[in-house]
Subunit: 199 residues, 2 copies
């Protein structure tokens, strides 16, 4: 296989380098000259492609958010399984959690084009629909459901130190099982007979 | 009332200014000259008292961790009420959540004297004791209980934007009630008859 040589390959290398840099140092701490060097290009090219460091972060974060959604696929009729997938995703990609966390701390969350807010809105609507269809208890506000499932699923994503602390934690498989069990207790998956009763 | 004029008042002003600066900019982003200026002292005095910027952060974070513990008092026999207090604490002090989050992102969590790790250890032991006494379901790993309760209680602490988003969220009181309800579902408080059955 030959590496890609099209016009986008510099741009792709910049994005890959930016992701690593932002995950490590955050937005304020990231240095465009380090990104340029890691991407084997110049600072000028980075700015030509992405205008500003913050804009580059926004692009990388939106890309990552789409990758998470693609890899974890929220299924409102089986939130425990979804929580397990989110847990697995961040266990396999701990840096991606850092990448997103920096944005929450460093950006004003109500800025224009905040990708997280759009995702929250879309998922909340999916959950509301599942409530209407009788798959989920309608007593919960769908935004609470989304937040709680995410919080439980990412419980370990921000604390790899605790997950791997000798003696303190059981095996990773037990951690995952506890996440899934907690979400199942709160939001049981729809059974085969679920759905509105049409009698 | 007269303001404190003892030898510690400069030190106290430095701590107050540092807390504000670290909450806003994190550790790497904080500037000791801004802290000194806000505390009406000199950079040299700041270093004389606290040696380094990171050491100053550690001091402020440990102080804040103690304040949270004091204000929220974990009661292993009533975790829903504890979760409500944690939620209230961060709703009233949103900057304090930011202050702690920066540390989790910027510091290597297994560094010496990491106050968070000590707190986790102490609280986990309290929960284990409550399980032995029959107040809490022993099927959960106590570290999972602690993490899940914290994650649910702080669900809104990191996202004030969502909490106050017009239309999207119900009243803050409903948010709090949902947190308490979720923790109650997972970890019901010990009833008057709880405790080991000695028949």
């Amino acid at each position: 296989m030959t590496p890609p040589t099209g016009p986008d390959s510099t741009r792709d290398r910049i994005l890959a380098a930016a992701k690593t840099e932002f995950a490590a140092y955050g937005i304020a701490g990231a240095r465009v000259d380090r990104i340029a060097k890691a991407a084997k290009t110049s600072k000028e090219r980075v700015y030509a492609y992405f205008r500003s460091k913050e804009n580059l972060y926004q692009y990388v974060a939106a890309q990552e958010l789409a990758a998470i959604a693609e890899a974890t696929r929220m299924d409102p009729t089986d939130l425990p399984a979804y929580a397990g997938r989110v847990h697995d995703y961040f266990a396999a990609h701990p840096d991606n959690h850092r990448l997103m966390q920096w944005g929450q701390l460093e950006l004003t969350a109500d800025g224009p084009g905040n990708a997280t807010t759009d995702t929250v809105h879309r998922k909340t609507e999916q959950l509301r629909e599942a409530q209407r269809a009788g798959h989920l208890d309608p007593a919960w506000d769908p935004l609470d459901i989304l937040m709680f499932v995410n919080q439980l699923a990412t419980a370990w994503a921000g604390r790899p130190d605790l997950l791997h602390r000798p003696g303190a934690a059981a095996q990773p498989a037990a951690r995952r099982a506890a996440v899934v069990a907690a979400v199942r207790t709160l939001f049981p998956p729809a059974g085969p007979d679920s759905g509105p009763d049409l009698d």
